[in-house]
């Protein structure tokens, strides 16, 4: 019964989300990968909101990024969690928003959460991104992991589906991610610490206040300070900066 209800909610939300997207036709930036999706999405949101204004850009609240989470993110609704009553309320709100909401952001920044075969296919049945960022393909276990190859196949689906006038942003520091470049007809931009990356960070230094690095992209250079620790923040920052520059 629970499973049936879940399927019903999933299907219903998918249809309503497609209606909302058809009505408003927003520009969609998708962020996919094993980790670092939320940080990357948050930086993209920050940069795009600085450029286009707060109300023009919407992102996933929390990390809603699965079959049910993604529609909730697009329609900007909270999860009903384990309460059937809350879910009924969510479905009513979803219908109102999809069919009658007039103000809809012109840009969406969405995380795509993929764990198993077929997940990406489903999510791309809901949204068609104009730009996709692939952060990394990494595993959480100590043994050679066939799951990683599966996730790679899912990312290939994303790369293949991007339109010709779209962009695929790839983390140059991840070999699997880098190799996705040959699976798309979209323009490819790589970012990372590698010498051959299109958008590149170098001279990384860490101190008590965070990290500093030099960033170069399209012939422009700037020195950046991030008040956080970890290279993944720099990768996320770079991806967001590239999105801001090409939009």
């Amino acid at each position: 019964m629970k499973s049936f209800f879940k399927k019903f909610v999933q299907y219903y939300l998918k249809i309503l989300t497609k209606v909302a997207l058809w009505r408003h036709r927003p520009f969609i930036v998708a962020v996919a990968g094993s980790t670092n999706k939320t940080t990357t999405k948050d930086y993209i949101l920050k940069f795009l909101r600085e450029k286009y204004g707060e109300k023009s850009v919407r992102g996933n609240p929390k990390s809603y990024n699965t079959e049910i989470g993604l529609p909730l993110a697009i329609l900007y609704l909270e999860s009903g969690e384990s309460s059937a009553l809350k879910w009924l309320k969510v479905l009513v709100q979803a219908k109102i928003r999809a069919l009658f909401e007039r103000k809809f952001p012109s840009k969406l920044v969405l995380e795509l959460g993929v764990e198993e075969k077929g997940n990406m296919e489903y999510l791309l049945g809901v949204v068609g991104p104009n730009i996709a960022v692939v952060t990394n393909i990494e595993g959480s276990y100590t043994y050679p992991n066939s799951d990683l190859e599966q996730i790679f196949e899912e990312m290939k689906v994303l790369a293949e589906r991007l339109p010709e006038n779209g962009y695929l942003l790839l983390n140059a520091d991840d070999e699997r991610v880098r190799s996705l470049a040959k699976n798309t007809k979209a323009k490819v931009i790589t970012y990372g610490f590698r010498e051959e990356a299109d958008a590149k960070a170098e001279n990384l230094k860490t101190d008590a206040q965070g990290q500093t690095f030099d960033f170069s992209f399209q012939g422009k250079e700037e020195s950046v300070r991030i008040k956080k620790y970890g290279r993944h923040f720099i990768s996320a920052w770079m991806a967001a900066k590239v999105v801001k520059n090409i939009l």
């Binding site: 670092n36 969690e81 990494e138 043994y143 008590a208 965070g210 956080k228 620790y229």
Partner: protein, 400 residues
């Protein structure tokens, strides 16, 4: 092994064991919340099992998803750590503490711990061949840290401060100023700080109480927010209390990557990785159990008020300070009562008398350090029914 270095079962567990052998005992001893683990957490664990995600070792520091969620949650509390290199999921906070001590201590090194403080710190230090050194808290100042006493006890063998904030068993919240002074001492004497913040979610901000921080602040101040000491600070958090997950044995530590790497090697030698099913459960706890924690806190607040009300009725037996946090109250036993019931046996004998004659299990204060003598610890994490039953029995017992 000399008597001094002997490692014994924690008095808390010993009291629980003794209690379990006496039929009908009501226990306010061990700090176990009365609640079951929140439903979304259990569901996530079941789902992870069914999807075949938990049968194999995770990476030694934990799954990437779990560590990323931890870092994102820490960020909301103004604590910044690199999830890839600075966070290690552990088998409970005691494993985090022990692995850290094994990493930083040489045999004979000293670790300063507040007195009274959590009983298991002492054996953890001894396991690492170190020596616990008690630094008395100021009872008359609501068990505040006394920085001068800390500094006086620092010797060339002192390697670290280890404390929990909020403090167990006193329920004290150490203020921002006290913690900053402690941080300055650590810098001056080149010491590590282990900050165990297992009770951070149970802070009862009553009217007029600000703990040295602005009232709008949603949580207590942590030294993990202080960037200047991140190379010597080890932040520790357990899911046991906040999410009613004591049996899942899951916690984490966060520290500067250089030290984290060294601790990771010890952690790997001890347990390989934290239980993977518990990592999935704890990930769900971070993502979905915020409301449950808030609910638990409200229950604990009510139970604190209840236990204080019941203690007020026993004011000829105990005096106490209303705890600001955690779920313990640490009443002082009035001297004449203590003598009458326990003779010269102190709080240990007193607790045994309560156990055997009133059938109420509590923890003798001396278990938490010498300054804990003449006190007992009572846990109000237990149900209201248990609290009332325990106090009905105590009232009857003290009538005699």
């Amino acid at each position: 092994m000399t008597k001094e270095k002997e490692i014994n079962l924690s008095p808390i567990k010993e009291m629980e064991l003794r209690a379990s052998r006496i039929p009908g005992v009501v226990s306010l001893a061990q700090g176990v919340p009365s609640f079951d683990t929140p439903e979304p957490v259990k569901r996530a664990a079941v789902e992870a099992i069914e999807r075949g995600k938990v049968a194999k070792y995770s990476l030694a520091p934990g799954t990437l998803e779990f560590r990323e969620a931890i870092a994102q949650n820490l960020e909301k509390e103004n604590k910044f750590f690199d999830f890839e290199n600075e966070i290690v999921a552990t088998a409970g906070s005691i494993e985090a503490i022990t692995a850290t001590l094994l990493t930083i201590l040489e045999p004979g090194d000293e670790v300063l711990i507040p007195d009274p403080s959590y009983t298991s710190y002492q054996p953890a230090i001894r396991v690492a061949r170190g020596m616990p050194v008690f630094v008395p808290l100021d009872e008359e100042k609501r068990w505040a840290l006394n920085i001068e006493k800390f500094e006086k006890l620092i010797t060339p063998r002192t390697k670290a401060f280890l404390f929990c904030n909020p403090n167990n068993p006193t329920g004290t919240i150490f203020t921002r100023n006290q913690l900053h002074a402690l941080a300055q001492l650590a810098i001056k004497h080149n010491l590590y700080i282990l900050s165990d913040e297992v009770y951070k979610d149970f802070v009862y901000l009553d009217e007029g109480s600000t703990f040295g921080a602005p009232k709008v602040e949603p949580s207590l101040y942590s030294l993990a927010e202080l960037r200047g000491i991140r190379d010597r600070l080890i932040y520790i958090f357990s899911f046991s209390k906040a999410y009613a997950m004591t049996g899942w044995r899951i916690a984490f530590l966060a520290t500067h990557q250089e030290l984290a790497g060294k601790i990771l090697a010890v952690h790997d030698a001890l347990v390989t990785c934290a239980p993977v099913v518990s990592q999935f459960a704890a990930l769900a706890a971070l993502e979905m159990a915020e409301e449950d924690v808030a609910g638990f806190k409200e229950y604990f607040r009510k139970r604190r008020d209840l236990i204080c009300k019941r203690l007020d009725k026993l004011n000829r037996v105990f005096s106490y300070q209303k705890p600001d946090s955690a779920y313990f109250v640490f009443p002082r036993i009035k001297e004449e009562v203590l003598r009458k019931i326990a003779g010269s046996g102190g709080s240990w004998k007193f607790a045994l008398e309560l156990l055997e004659k009133a059938k109420v299990a509590v923890v003798p204060g001396v278990a938490f350090g010498p300054s804990g003598e003449n006190h007992i610890r009572m846990c109000f994490g237990r149900s209201e029914k248990d609290i009332n039953l325990a106090f009905d029995r105590l009232e009857k017992f003290f009538e005699l």
